[in-house]
């Protein structure tokens, strides 16, 4: 099974310097501008899909589907953070794939318990300054994969990708109260799963502050 590579250890895709202009051109049907945006955000989309689906192949399919949906919908894009807009589309595309997989029980989703082997390498131990952080991220992703799927999806969408409760409820087709409960239970479970790495976890947090 191929292992996804990190975009850059510990990094998140920042908006393009001239993003507003590029988005405006893409909205007017400029295929070059659209390609530039998708190229820029593909790691964000793939990362979200991978964290929701737990399988690199399915995640690549979901990101691919998201690009097609985005191409169809970009003329109707009405401002706001482009990354958030694209991630909402990716979450929906991932859920479509998840629902299809659940309707066809032969297409088994990867077992969370087997997830350790497929974890992305969040960064080589060099340079040293990034090693601890990269390790923390690895453990966090591993712990996320051990959550029940509904809790994992809620925590990933809310805490990792910054969606509000309403957006999570829409993406997961769940009630708002259910989403809140899943997020809270998911965080509590994550805390327990991270217990053996508590020192690393707290050290990194102290370095952050």
């Amino acid at each position: 099974m191929p292992v996804p590579d990190p975009a850059r250890p510990g990094s998140r895709t920042a908006p393009l310097p001239d993003e507003e202009a590029v988005v405006a051109r893409a909205c007017r049907g400029d295929r070059g501008a659209f390609t530039q945006l998708m190229e820029h955000y593909q790691s964000a989309c793939f990362g979200l899909a991978w964290r929701l689906l737990g399988d690199p192949d399915l995640a690549a399919d979901a990101a691919q589907d998201a690009f097609v949906h985005a191409y169809d919908a970009i003329a109707k894009y009405r401002g706001g953070l482009f990354r958030s807009w694209l991630l909402r589309i990716t979450a929906n595309a991932s859920y479509d794939i998840l629902r299809r997989a659940q309707r066809r029980p032969t297409t088994a989703l990867p077992d969370a318990e087997e997830g350790e082997a497929e974890l992305p390498d969040q960064g080589a131990p060099d340079p040293e300054a990034e090693a601890g952080r990269a390790e923390l991220y690895r453990h966090l992703d591993a712990a996320l994969r051990l959550l029940p799927h509904d809790q994992r999806a809620a925590v990933v969408l809310c805490d990792v990708y910054g969606m509000d409760y309403g957006e999570v409820a829409t993406a997961t087709q769940s009630a708002l109260g259910t989403v809140k409960s899943r997020i809270h239970r998911g965080r509590l479970r994550l805390r327990e799963l991270m217990a053996e790495h508590r020192e690393l976890f707290l050290n990194e947090a102290r370095l952050d502050r």
């Binding site: 975009a7 250890p9 790691s43 960064g123 966090l140 409960s181 809270h184 965080r187």
Partner: protein
């Protein structure tokens, strides 16, 4: 000042407090408990740190190249609902046009056959009436007697023609005028059908051509 409490809030409530949920934060009793409880305060702290760490998880590059844009064939802009509806209507409209043209054409060809027959009929009746008038020259019009006439189409028997009974309500016109009026009134619906059919065919073909999305 911290202390051990006999009872603690539900952990989900602590998680809500850690995520700054409004209803949990505005609960002063809960806030007071968290601030003073050795068990609950670290839980809230860790949950807060956990949220911060989650928000920093990095993006992940796809392990295989992704197609960033749909291929050109799929990339034609999708038409709006009304336009798509019109475009879909074009095919049945074309079929209806073809149908109308066929019905009109069949009707008209049938009509032309009928006219040819009537023209022969007219020629025969005019010929026979001349024959009848010839012996009684200068006499008043009288009912034409049945007469057998040899024509180029063969022998036919003409019934007696009483024009007053043929066209009862109107003054008796000549036989030629009756046929002309007859042809006009029966011709027009077929012609109209034919023209409408061609029109429908043309308009729907133009609609279909102009509304079909094209790549590029």
């Amino acid at each position: 000042m911290t202390m051990q409490h006999a009872t603690h809030p539900d952990d989900e409530r602590l998680a809500a407090y850690a995520s700054a949920a409004r209803e949990a934060v505005s609960d002063r009793e809960l806030a007071g408990h968290v601030a003073s409880c050795d068990r609950c305060r670290p839980i809230v702290d860790e949950l807060t740190i956990l949220r911060d760490a989650l928000s920093l998880l990095p993006d992940i590059a796809p392990f295989r190249p992704l197609r960033l844009i749909p291929p050109v064939a799929d990339a034609a802009p999708r038409p709006s609902g009304a336009v798509e509806w019109l475009r879909r209507l074009a095919a049945p409209a074309m079929a209806a046009g073809v149908g109308l043209v066929l019905v009109g054409a069949v009707g008209i060809s049938g009509m032309l056959g009928g006219i040819a027959g009537k023209a022969a009929d007219l020629a025969v009746s005019q010929q026979s009436s001349k024959g009848a008038e010839a012996p009684g020259a200068g006499g008043a019009h009288s009912p034409v007697p049945a007469v057998s006439t040899d024509t180029e189409y063969g022998t036919r028997t003409n019934p007696p023609r009483d024009q007053a009974t043929a066209v009862p309500a109107t003054p008796a016109p000549s036989a030629g005028a009756v046929h002309a009026a007859d042809r006009g009134s029966h011709d027009q619906p077929w012609l109209a059908l034919l023209i409408a059919g061609f029109g429908l065919l043309g308009i729907s073909a133009i609609l279909r051509y102009s509304l079909t999305p094209r790549a590029g």
